[in-house]
Protein backbone atom coordinates (compact mmCIF):
# COMPACT_ATOMS: atom_id res chain seq x y z
CA UNK A 1 0.00 0.00 0.00
CA UNK A 2 1.20 3.47 -0.82
CA UNK A 3 -0.22 5.29 2.22
CA UNK A 4 2.39 6.49 4.68
CA UNK A 5 0.34 8.45 7.18
CA UNK A 6 -3.35 9.14 7.78
CA UNK A 7 -4.73 11.49 10.38
CA UNK A 8 -8.23 12.76 11.07
CA UNK A 9 -8.00 16.44 11.87
CA UNK A 10 -11.64 17.47 11.92
CA UNK A 11 -15.10 16.44 10.85
CA UNK A 12 -14.47 17.67 7.36
CA UNK A 13 -11.61 19.44 5.58
CA UNK A 14 -12.22 22.03 2.87
CA UNK A 15 -8.65 22.49 1.66
CA UNK A 16 -5.06 22.11 2.82
CA UNK A 17 -1.50 23.20 2.00
CA UNK A 18 2.00 22.28 3.21
CA UNK A 19 4.85 24.37 4.58
CA UNK A 20 8.08 24.59 2.52
CA UNK A 21 9.80 21.84 4.53
CA UNK A 22 6.61 19.71 4.62
CA UNK A 23 6.62 19.57 8.41
CA UNK A 24 3.52 21.69 8.90
CA UNK A 25 0.13 21.60 7.26
CA UNK A 26 -2.39 24.46 7.05
CA UNK A 27 -5.98 23.32 6.67
CA UNK A 28 -9.52 24.60 6.97
CA UNK A 29 -11.72 22.34 9.13
CA UNK A 30 -14.86 23.42 7.28
CA UNK A 31 -15.20 26.69 9.25
CA UNK A 32 -13.90 30.24 9.12
CA UNK A 33 -10.44 29.45 10.48
CA UNK A 34 -7.15 28.16 9.17
CA UNK A 35 -5.46 25.66 11.49
CA UNK A 36 -1.74 24.98 11.31
CA UNK A 37 -0.55 21.62 12.61
CA UNK A 38 3.03 20.47 13.07
CA UNK A 39 4.03 16.86 12.67
CA UNK A 40 5.88 15.57 15.75
CA UNK A 41 6.17 11.95 14.67
CA UNK A 42 4.05 9.43 12.81
CA UNK A 43 0.41 10.16 13.56
CA UNK A 44 1.31 12.72 16.22
CA UNK A 45 0.24 16.20 15.31
CA UNK A 46 0.31 19.36 17.40
CA UNK A 47 -1.83 22.37 16.59
CA UNK A 48 0.45 25.39 16.54
CA UNK A 49 -1.65 28.27 15.22
CA UNK A 50 -5.24 29.18 14.52
CA UNK A 51 -5.61 31.97 11.99
CA UNK A 52 -8.91 33.76 12.53
CA UNK A 53 -9.75 36.58 10.19
CA UNK A 54 -12.34 35.37 7.73
CA UNK A 55 -16.08 35.65 8.33
CA UNK A 56 -17.10 32.70 6.21
CA UNK A 57 -15.72 29.35 5.16
CA UNK A 58 -12.14 29.37 3.88
CA UNK A 59 -12.34 27.81 0.42
CA UNK A 60 -8.69 27.89 -0.64
CA UNK A 61 -5.26 27.90 1.02
CA UNK A 62 -1.83 27.95 -0.60
CA UNK A 63 1.58 28.09 1.06
CA UNK A 64 4.46 29.47 -0.98
CA UNK A 65 7.66 27.45 -0.71
CA UNK A 66 10.28 30.16 -1.22
CA UNK A 67 8.75 33.19 0.46
CA UNK A 68 6.93 31.18 3.17
CA UNK A 69 3.67 33.11 2.88
CA UNK A 70 0.21 31.65 3.27
CA UNK A 71 -2.64 32.99 1.14
CA UNK A 72 -6.20 32.18 2.16
CA UNK A 73 -9.41 33.00 0.32
CA UNK A 74 -12.92 32.69 1.61
CA UNK A 75 -16.59 32.86 0.73
CA UNK A 76 -16.57 36.25 2.46
CA UNK A 77 -15.04 37.63 -0.80
CA UNK A 78 -11.77 38.48 0.94
CA UNK A 79 -8.26 37.17 0.82
CA UNK A 80 -5.44 37.45 3.36
CA UNK A 81 -1.73 36.99 2.86
CA UNK A 82 -0.17 35.74 6.11
CA UNK A 83 3.52 36.30 6.88
CA UNK A 84 5.43 34.78 9.74
CA UNK A 85 6.73 37.57 11.97
CA UNK A 86 8.24 36.85 15.33
CA UNK A 87 6.57 33.48 15.80
CA UNK A 88 3.09 34.75 14.87
CA UNK A 89 1.24 34.80 11.57
CA UNK A 90 0.38 38.38 10.64
CA UNK A 91 -2.40 38.92 8.10
CA UNK A 92 -2.48 41.45 5.29
CA UNK A 93 -5.86 42.07 3.70
CA UNK A 94 -5.97 41.88 -0.08
CA UNK A 95 -8.96 43.66 -1.54
CA UNK A 96 -10.09 41.43 -4.39
CA UNK A 97 -13.01 43.62 -5.50
CA UNK A 98 -15.34 40.63 -5.78
CA UNK A 99 -19.07 40.59 -5.26
CA UNK A 100 -19.28 36.81 -4.88
CA UNK A 101 -17.38 34.11 -3.01
CA UNK A 102 -13.75 33.27 -3.74
CA UNK A 103 -13.42 29.58 -4.54
CA UNK A 104 -9.81 28.66 -5.15
CA UNK A 105 -6.31 30.16 -4.97
CA UNK A 106 -2.81 29.35 -6.14
CA UNK A 107 0.59 31.05 -5.87
CA UNK A 108 2.37 31.48 -9.19
CA UNK A 109 5.64 29.51 -9.72
CA UNK A 110 7.75 32.62 -9.01
CA UNK A 111 5.49 33.51 -6.06
CA UNK A 112 5.19 37.14 -7.08
CA UNK A 113 1.52 36.73 -8.02
CA UNK A 114 -1.42 34.63 -6.98
CA UNK A 115 -4.65 33.80 -8.82
CA UNK A 116 -8.11 33.56 -7.24
CA UNK A 117 -11.12 31.96 -8.93
CA UNK A 118 -14.53 33.18 -7.83
CA UNK A 119 -18.26 32.74 -8.12
CA UNK A 120 -18.43 36.19 -9.69
CA UNK A 121 -17.31 34.68 -13.01
CA UNK A 122 -13.98 36.46 -12.62
CA UNK A 123 -10.39 35.56 -11.91
CA UNK A 124 -8.32 37.93 -9.72
CA UNK A 125 -4.60 38.15 -10.31
CA UNK A 126 -2.93 39.76 -7.30
CA UNK A 127 0.59 41.11 -7.22
CA UNK A 128 2.62 43.04 -4.66
CA UNK A 129 3.25 46.72 -5.27
CA UNK A 130 6.48 47.65 -3.55
CA UNK A 131 5.94 51.43 -3.54
CA UNK A 132 2.58 51.27 -1.77
CA UNK A 133 3.45 48.20 0.28
CA UNK A 134 0.28 46.37 -0.49
CA UNK A 135 -1.26 43.74 -2.79
CA UNK A 136 -3.14 44.94 -5.86
CA UNK A 137 -5.80 42.86 -7.57
CA UNK A 138 -6.36 42.89 -11.34
CA UNK A 139 -9.51 41.22 -12.58
CA UNK A 140 -10.11 39.10 -15.66
CA UNK A 141 -13.80 39.84 -16.12
CA UNK A 142 -14.33 38.59 -19.65
CA UNK A 143 -15.16 35.15 -20.98
CA UNK A 144 -16.30 33.10 -18.01
CA UNK A 145 -20.02 32.36 -18.08
CA UNK A 146 -20.18 30.86 -14.61
CA UNK A 147 -18.19 30.25 -11.42
CA UNK A 148 -14.48 29.58 -11.76
CA UNK A 149 -13.84 26.38 -9.84
CA UNK A 150 -10.12 25.90 -10.25
CA UNK A 151 -6.98 27.77 -11.40
CA UNK A 152 -3.53 26.49 -12.37
CA UNK A 153 -0.32 28.31 -13.30
CA UNK A 154 1.88 27.30 -16.23
CA UNK A 155 5.59 26.98 -15.29
CA UNK A 156 6.34 30.19 -17.26
CA UNK A 157 4.54 32.25 -14.59
CA UNK A 158 2.38 34.01 -17.20
CA UNK A 159 -0.20 31.57 -18.54
CA UNK A 160 -3.09 30.59 -16.28
CA UNK A 161 -5.58 27.79 -16.92
CA UNK A 162 -9.05 27.98 -15.40
CA UNK A 163 -12.02 25.63 -15.22
CA UNK A 164 -15.56 26.74 -14.70
CA UNK A 165 -19.03 25.40 -14.04
CA UNK A 166 -19.92 26.39 -17.60
CA UNK A 167 -17.98 23.26 -18.59
CA UNK A 168 -15.11 25.02 -20.33
CA UNK A 169 -11.40 25.17 -19.64
CA UNK A 170 -9.64 28.36 -20.65
CA UNK A 171 -6.04 29.55 -20.78
CA UNK A 172 -5.33 33.24 -20.19
CA UNK A 173 -2.28 35.42 -20.21
CA UNK A 174 -1.66 37.25 -16.93
CA UNK A 175 1.25 39.35 -18.09
CA UNK A 176 1.61 42.43 -15.87
CA UNK A 177 3.98 45.23 -16.82
CA UNK A 178 6.49 45.81 -14.08
CA UNK A 179 6.01 42.38 -12.56
CA UNK A 180 6.66 40.07 -15.50
CA UNK A 181 9.52 40.34 -17.95
CA UNK A 182 8.84 39.91 -21.62
CA UNK A 183 10.63 36.82 -22.85
CA UNK A 184 12.13 37.65 -26.24
CA UNK A 185 11.62 34.14 -27.55
CA UNK A 186 8.13 33.85 -26.06
CA UNK A 187 5.03 32.99 -28.02
CA UNK A 188 2.54 35.21 -29.76
CA UNK A 189 1.96 38.87 -28.92
CA UNK A 190 -1.30 37.74 -27.36
CA UNK A 191 0.76 36.32 -24.54
CA UNK A 192 1.84 39.76 -23.43
CA UNK A 193 -1.59 41.27 -22.98
CA UNK A 194 -3.18 40.89 -19.60
CA UNK A 195 -6.48 39.01 -19.62
CA UNK A 196 -6.12 37.84 -23.20
CA UNK A 197 -7.68 34.42 -23.76
CA UNK A 198 -5.20 32.12 -25.47
CA UNK A 199 -7.34 29.01 -25.68
CA UNK A 200 -10.82 27.79 -24.86
CA UNK A 201 -11.61 24.08 -24.58
CA UNK A 202 -15.23 23.07 -24.86
CA UNK A 203 -14.99 19.35 -24.21
CA UNK A 204 -17.35 18.88 -21.30
CA UNK A 205 -21.16 18.97 -21.12
CA UNK A 206 -21.13 19.45 -17.38
CA UNK A 207 -19.16 21.29 -14.71
CA UNK A 208 -15.41 21.25 -14.98
CA UNK A 209 -13.04 21.01 -12.00
CA UNK A 210 -9.45 20.48 -11.06
CA UNK A 211 -7.21 21.73 -13.88
CA UNK A 212 -3.45 21.12 -13.71
CA UNK A 213 -0.47 21.56 -16.04
CA UNK A 214 2.10 18.82 -16.60
CA UNK A 215 5.63 19.58 -15.22
CA UNK A 216 6.85 20.87 -18.59
CA UNK A 217 3.67 22.84 -19.28
CA UNK A 218 2.99 20.91 -22.47
CA UNK A 219 -0.12 19.08 -21.32
CA UNK A 220 -3.27 20.08 -19.47
CA UNK A 221 -5.60 17.78 -17.58
CA UNK A 222 -9.00 18.62 -16.11
CA UNK A 223 -12.10 16.71 -15.06
CA UNK A 224 -15.78 16.98 -15.88
CA UNK A 225 -18.62 16.13 -13.55
CA UNK A 226 -19.87 13.49 -15.97
CA UNK A 227 -17.19 10.97 -14.92
CA UNK A 228 -14.86 12.15 -17.64
CA UNK A 229 -11.27 13.32 -17.58
CA UNK A 230 -9.83 15.44 -20.37
CA UNK A 231 -6.23 15.57 -21.52
CA UNK A 232 -4.94 18.24 -23.86
CA UNK A 233 -1.48 17.81 -25.35
CA UNK A 234 0.51 20.52 -27.13
CA UNK A 235 -1.50 23.33 -25.62
CA UNK A 236 -1.30 26.14 -28.15
CA UNK A 237 -2.76 27.01 -31.54
CA UNK A 238 -3.52 23.38 -32.45
CA UNK A 239 -4.07 21.31 -29.31
CA UNK A 240 -4.72 17.57 -29.21
CA UNK A 241 -7.63 16.88 -26.93
CA UNK A 242 -8.67 13.49 -25.58
CA UNK A 243 -11.73 12.65 -23.53
CA UNK A 244 -11.47 9.58 -21.33
CA UNK A 245 -14.67 8.17 -19.85
CA UNK A 246 -14.28 5.95 -16.81
CA UNK A 247 -16.61 3.65 -14.94
CA UNK A 248 -16.94 5.18 -11.55
CA UNK A 249 -18.03 8.33 -9.79
CA UNK A 250 -16.68 11.71 -10.96
CA UNK A 251 -13.34 13.17 -9.90
CA UNK A 252 -12.74 16.51 -8.19
CA UNK A 253 -9.03 17.14 -8.54
CA UNK A 254 -6.00 15.85 -10.45
CA UNK A 255 -2.22 15.87 -10.08
CA UNK A 256 0.54 15.20 -12.59
CA UNK A 257 3.06 12.89 -10.96
CA UNK A 258 5.17 12.76 -14.08
CA UNK A 259 4.89 14.02 -17.63
CA UNK A 260 2.84 10.99 -18.65
CA UNK A 261 1.01 10.02 -15.49
CA UNK A 262 -1.89 11.66 -13.66
CA UNK A 263 -3.60 10.81 -10.38
CA UNK A 264 -7.26 11.76 -10.06
CA UNK A 265 -9.23 11.94 -6.81
CA UNK A 266 -12.93 12.39 -6.24
CA UNK A 267 -16.18 10.92 -5.10
CA UNK A 268 -14.94 7.33 -5.16
CA UNK A 269 -12.64 8.11 -2.22
CA UNK A 270 -9.87 6.20 -3.93
CA UNK A 271 -7.14 7.79 -6.07
CA UNK A 272 -7.15 6.69 -9.72
CA UNK A 273 -4.08 6.46 -11.94
CA UNK A 274 -4.22 7.54 -15.59
CA UNK A 275 -1.30 7.28 -17.98
CA UNK A 276 -0.41 7.97 -21.58
CA UNK A 277 1.10 5.13 -23.56
CA UNK A 278 3.88 5.50 -26.11
CA UNK A 279 1.53 6.70 -28.82
CA UNK A 280 0.19 9.42 -26.53
CA UNK A 281 -3.22 7.89 -25.86
CA UNK A 282 -4.36 8.43 -22.28
CA UNK A 283 -6.37 5.81 -20.41
CA UNK A 284 -7.32 4.63 -16.93
CA UNK A 285 -4.72 2.24 -15.51
CA UNK A 286 -5.79 1.27 -12.01
CA UNK A 287 -6.76 2.42 -8.55
CA UNK A 288 -3.70 3.27 -6.55
CA UNK A 289 -4.19 0.65 -3.83
CA UNK A 290 -5.42 -2.18 -5.99
CA UNK A 291 -3.73 -5.00 -7.86
CA UNK A 292 -3.96 -4.75 -11.62
CA UNK A 293 -6.71 -7.39 -11.88
CA UNK A 294 -9.73 -6.52 -14.01
CA UNK A 295 -12.60 -5.47 -11.78
CA UNK A 296 -15.25 -8.16 -11.50
CA UNK A 297 -18.97 -7.74 -11.11
CA UNK A 298 -18.52 -6.58 -7.51
CA UNK A 299 -18.19 -2.98 -8.52
CA UNK A 300 -20.73 -1.43 -6.19
CA UNK A 301 -19.50 0.19 -3.05
CA UNK A 302 -21.23 -0.90 0.11
CA UNK A 303 -23.10 2.39 0.36
CA UNK A 304 -24.98 1.59 -2.84
CA UNK A 305 -25.70 -2.09 -2.42
CA UNK A 306 -28.70 -1.43 -0.20
CA UNK A 307 -30.12 1.12 -2.61
CA UNK A 308 -29.63 -1.18 -5.57
CA UNK A 309 -31.32 -3.97 -3.66
CA UNK A 310 -34.43 -1.82 -3.28
CA UNK A 311 -34.25 -0.62 -6.88
CA UNK A 312 -34.10 -4.05 -8.44
CA UNK A 313 -36.23 -5.71 -5.76
CA UNK A 314 -37.31 -9.25 -6.48
CA UNK A 315 -35.75 -9.15 -9.91
CA UNK A 316 -32.23 -9.07 -8.59
CA UNK A 317 -30.77 -12.54 -8.58
CA UNK A 318 -27.11 -11.75 -8.07
CA UNK A 319 -26.15 -10.72 -4.57
CA UNK A 320 -24.39 -7.41 -4.64
CA UNK A 321 -21.05 -7.99 -3.03
CA UNK A 322 -20.51 -5.42 -0.33
CA UNK A 323 -17.43 -7.13 1.06
CA UNK A 324 -15.33 -6.59 -2.02
CA UNK A 325 -15.15 -2.87 -1.41
CA UNK A 326 -13.72 -3.41 2.05
CA UNK A 327 -10.92 -5.46 0.58
CA UNK A 328 -9.93 -2.46 -1.56
CA UNK A 329 -8.58 -1.02 1.66
CA UNK A 330 -9.95 2.47 1.38
CA UNK A 331 -8.16 5.19 3.19
CA UNK A 332 -10.79 7.88 2.85
CA UNK A 333 -14.44 7.27 3.77
CA UNK A 334 -15.86 10.16 1.87
CA UNK A 335 -15.21 12.32 -1.16
CA UNK A 336 -11.59 13.43 -1.61
CA UNK A 337 -11.58 17.16 -2.35
CA UNK A 338 -8.00 17.99 -3.05
CA UNK A 339 -4.64 16.46 -3.88
CA UNK A 340 -1.44 18.39 -3.14
CA UNK A 341 2.10 17.45 -4.21
CA UNK A 342 4.76 16.99 -1.54
CA UNK A 343 7.86 17.17 -3.70
CA UNK A 344 10.09 20.12 -4.48
CA UNK A 345 8.28 22.55 -6.74
CA UNK A 346 9.41 22.31 -10.33
CA UNK A 347 10.76 18.79 -10.12
CA UNK A 348 9.63 16.58 -13.03
CA UNK A 349 8.41 13.70 -10.86
CA UNK A 350 6.24 13.78 -7.78
CA UNK A 351 7.11 11.00 -5.35
CA UNK A 352 4.86 11.99 -2.48
CA UNK A 353 1.47 13.67 -2.33
CA UNK A 354 -1.32 14.21 0.16
CA UNK A 355 -5.08 14.07 -0.14
CA UNK A 356 -7.78 15.59 2.04
CA UNK A 357 -11.50 15.17 1.98
CA UNK A 358 -14.94 15.49 3.45
CA UNK A 359 -14.17 12.76 5.99
CA UNK A 360 -11.75 15.14 7.74
CA UNK A 361 -8.68 13.03 7.04
CA UNK A 362 -5.39 14.00 5.48
CA UNK A 363 -3.54 11.04 3.96
CA UNK A 364 0.07 11.11 2.81
CA UNK A 365 0.96 8.78 -0.05
CA UNK A 366 4.45 7.71 -1.04
CA UNK A 367 5.22 6.26 -4.46
CA UNK A 368 8.80 5.26 -3.61
CA UNK A 369 8.29 1.53 -3.94
CA UNK A 370 5.61 1.65 -6.56
CA UNK A 371 7.75 2.41 -9.60
CA UNK A 372 7.58 -1.22 -10.67
CA UNK A 373 3.85 -1.41 -10.32
CA UNK A 374 3.14 1.87 -12.03
CA UNK A 375 5.12 1.04 -15.11
CA UNK A 376 7.54 2.89 -17.30
CA UNK A 377 5.48 6.04 -17.73
CA UNK A 378 6.27 7.06 -14.17
Amino acid sequence: MAVVDVHRFAESITCHAWSPDHSMVALCPNNTEVHIYKSLSLDQWERLHVLQKHDQIVSGIDWSSKSNKIVSVSHDRNSYVWSMEGGEWVPTLVILRLNRAALCVQWSPKENKFAVGSGAKTVCICYYEQENNWWVSKLIRKRHESSVTSVAWHPNNILLATTSTDGKCRVFSTFIKGVDTKDSKAGSPAETKFGEQILQLDLSYSWAFGVKWSPSGNTLAYVGHSSMIYFVDDVGPSPLAQSVAFRDLPLRDVLFISEKMVIGVGYDSNPMVFAADDTGIWSFIRYIGEKKAASSNSSYSSQFSEAFGKFYGSQSKSATASDASESRGRVHDNCINSIVPLSKAGSPKVMRFSTSGLDGKVAIWDLENMEQELGNQF
Binding site: D166, G167, Y205, H225, S227, D248, L249, F304, Y312
Partner: protein, 135 residues
Protein backbone atom coordinates in the same frame (compact mmCIF):
# COMPACT_ATOMS: atom_id res chain seq x y z
CA UNK B 1 -25.96 24.74 -21.34
CA UNK B 2 -22.40 24.61 -22.51
CA UNK B 3 -23.05 23.14 -25.92
CA UNK B 4 -26.32 24.97 -26.56
CA UNK B 5 -24.79 27.77 -28.57
CA UNK B 6 -22.96 25.38 -30.86
CA UNK B 7 -25.98 23.11 -31.14
CA UNK B 8 -27.14 24.15 -34.58
CA UNK B 9 -29.74 21.87 -36.13
CA UNK B 10 -27.64 19.43 -38.11
CA UNK B 11 -30.32 18.71 -40.66
CA UNK B 12 -33.89 19.79 -40.83
CA UNK B 13 -36.54 17.73 -39.13
CA UNK B 14 -37.92 16.11 -42.27
CA UNK B 15 -34.61 14.62 -43.27
CA UNK B 16 -34.27 13.13 -39.83
CA UNK B 17 -37.79 11.70 -39.92
CA UNK B 18 -36.97 10.09 -43.25
CA UNK B 19 -33.83 8.56 -41.81
CA UNK B 20 -35.77 7.22 -38.86
CA UNK B 21 -38.26 5.64 -41.28
CA UNK B 22 -35.51 3.74 -43.10
CA UNK B 23 -34.01 2.74 -39.78
CA UNK B 24 -37.38 1.40 -38.68
CA UNK B 25 -37.78 -0.73 -41.76
CA UNK B 26 -34.27 -2.15 -41.42
CA UNK B 27 -34.96 -3.07 -37.83
CA UNK B 28 -38.24 -4.82 -38.67
CA UNK B 29 -36.46 -7.02 -41.16
CA UNK B 30 -33.60 -7.75 -38.74
CA UNK B 31 -36.07 -8.76 -36.05
CA UNK B 32 -37.82 -11.11 -38.44
CA UNK B 33 -34.51 -12.89 -38.84
CA UNK B 34 -34.03 -13.00 -35.05
CA UNK B 35 -31.01 -10.74 -35.25
CA UNK B 36 -31.87 -8.92 -32.04
CA UNK B 37 -28.45 -7.47 -31.27
CA UNK B 38 -28.03 -6.14 -34.81
CA UNK B 39 -31.45 -4.56 -34.54
CA UNK B 40 -30.56 -2.81 -31.32
CA UNK B 41 -27.26 -1.55 -32.74
CA UNK B 42 -29.05 -0.14 -35.77
CA UNK B 43 -31.61 1.52 -33.55
CA UNK B 44 -28.96 3.09 -31.33
CA UNK B 45 -26.89 4.36 -34.22
CA UNK B 46 -27.69 7.96 -34.90
CA UNK B 47 -29.38 8.50 -31.59
CA UNK B 48 -29.74 10.87 -30.09
CA UNK B 49 -30.84 12.67 -33.26
CA UNK B 50 -28.95 15.94 -33.40
CA UNK B 51 -32.00 18.14 -33.19
CA UNK B 52 -34.15 19.88 -30.64
CA UNK B 53 -37.36 18.83 -32.37
CA UNK B 54 -39.54 16.73 -30.10
CA UNK B 55 -41.24 14.83 -32.92
CA UNK B 56 -37.94 13.45 -34.13
CA UNK B 57 -36.97 12.39 -30.67
CA UNK B 58 -40.30 10.64 -30.15
CA UNK B 59 -40.09 8.89 -33.49
CA UNK B 60 -36.55 7.75 -32.73
CA UNK B 61 -37.63 6.52 -29.32
CA UNK B 62 -40.41 4.39 -30.78
CA UNK B 63 -37.88 2.67 -33.01
CA UNK B 64 -35.43 2.09 -30.16
CA UNK B 65 -38.18 0.79 -27.89
CA UNK B 66 -39.17 -1.77 -30.49
CA UNK B 67 -35.62 -3.11 -30.54
CA UNK B 68 -35.27 -3.07 -26.74
CA UNK B 69 -38.54 -4.95 -26.15
CA UNK B 70 -37.48 -7.68 -28.55
CA UNK B 71 -34.40 -8.56 -26.50
CA UNK B 72 -34.74 -11.79 -24.56
CA UNK B 73 -31.13 -12.69 -23.78
CA UNK B 74 -29.78 -9.61 -21.99
CA UNK B 75 -26.34 -10.98 -21.09
CA UNK B 76 -25.72 -12.17 -24.61
CA UNK B 77 -26.79 -8.84 -25.98
CA UNK B 78 -24.45 -6.91 -23.71
CA UNK B 79 -21.59 -9.23 -24.58
CA UNK B 80 -22.03 -8.47 -28.23
CA UNK B 81 -22.51 -4.71 -27.80
CA UNK B 82 -19.44 -2.48 -28.07
CA UNK B 83 -18.46 -0.09 -25.28
CA UNK B 84 -19.31 3.01 -27.27
CA UNK B 85 -23.01 2.08 -27.26
CA UNK B 86 -23.25 1.85 -23.46
CA UNK B 87 -23.83 5.55 -22.84
CA UNK B 88 -26.52 5.84 -25.52
CA UNK B 89 -28.25 2.67 -24.36
CA UNK B 90 -28.32 3.99 -20.80
CA UNK B 91 -30.01 7.20 -21.98
CA UNK B 92 -32.64 5.18 -23.83
CA UNK B 93 -33.22 3.02 -20.77
CA UNK B 94 -33.94 6.09 -18.67
CA UNK B 95 -36.33 7.33 -21.30
CA UNK B 96 -38.04 3.95 -21.12
CA UNK B 97 -38.24 4.05 -17.34
CA UNK B 98 -39.80 7.50 -17.51
CA UNK B 99 -42.73 6.29 -19.62
CA UNK B 100 -44.31 4.49 -16.67
CA UNK B 101 -45.66 1.79 -18.97
CA UNK B 102 -45.30 -1.54 -17.17
CA UNK B 103 -43.82 -3.90 -19.77
CA UNK B 104 -41.41 -1.20 -20.98
CA UNK B 105 -40.30 -0.39 -17.46
CA UNK B 106 -39.83 -4.04 -16.56
CA UNK B 107 -37.63 -4.67 -19.57
CA UNK B 108 -35.65 -1.46 -19.12
CA UNK B 109 -35.08 -2.19 -15.44
CA UNK B 110 -33.70 -5.64 -16.17
CA UNK B 111 -31.31 -4.30 -18.78
CA UNK B 112 -30.37 -1.39 -16.48
CA UNK B 113 -29.16 -3.75 -13.78
CA UNK B 114 -26.89 -5.67 -16.12
CA UNK B 115 -25.66 -2.57 -17.90
CA UNK B 116 -24.70 -0.87 -14.64
CA UNK B 117 -22.69 -3.93 -13.65
CA UNK B 118 -20.76 -3.67 -16.86
CA UNK B 119 -20.44 0.03 -17.47
CA UNK B 120 -20.33 1.26 -13.89
CA UNK B 121 -21.81 4.29 -12.20
CA UNK B 122 -19.92 6.60 -14.55
CA UNK B 123 -22.29 5.59 -17.33
CA UNK B 124 -25.29 6.71 -15.28
CA UNK B 125 -23.49 9.97 -14.40
CA UNK B 126 -22.82 10.73 -18.06
CA UNK B 127 -26.46 10.06 -18.87
CA UNK B 128 -27.75 12.36 -16.12
CA UNK B 129 -25.32 15.23 -16.66
CA UNK B 130 -25.69 15.51 -20.41
CA UNK B 131 -28.60 17.88 -20.86
CA UNK B 132 -27.71 18.89 -24.42
CA UNK B 133 -27.88 15.53 -26.17
CA UNK B 134 -31.11 14.12 -24.79
CA UNK B 135 -32.81 11.07 -26.28
Amino acid sequence: MAGAAAFVEADNADEIMARIETKSQKIESLLKHYKHVEALKTALEGSPPKTLDERCKSANWIVVRRAIMAIKDIDGMLNALDDEYYDILMKCLYRGLSTGDEPTCEQCLMIHEKLTERAGLGCILRCLSDTTNTV
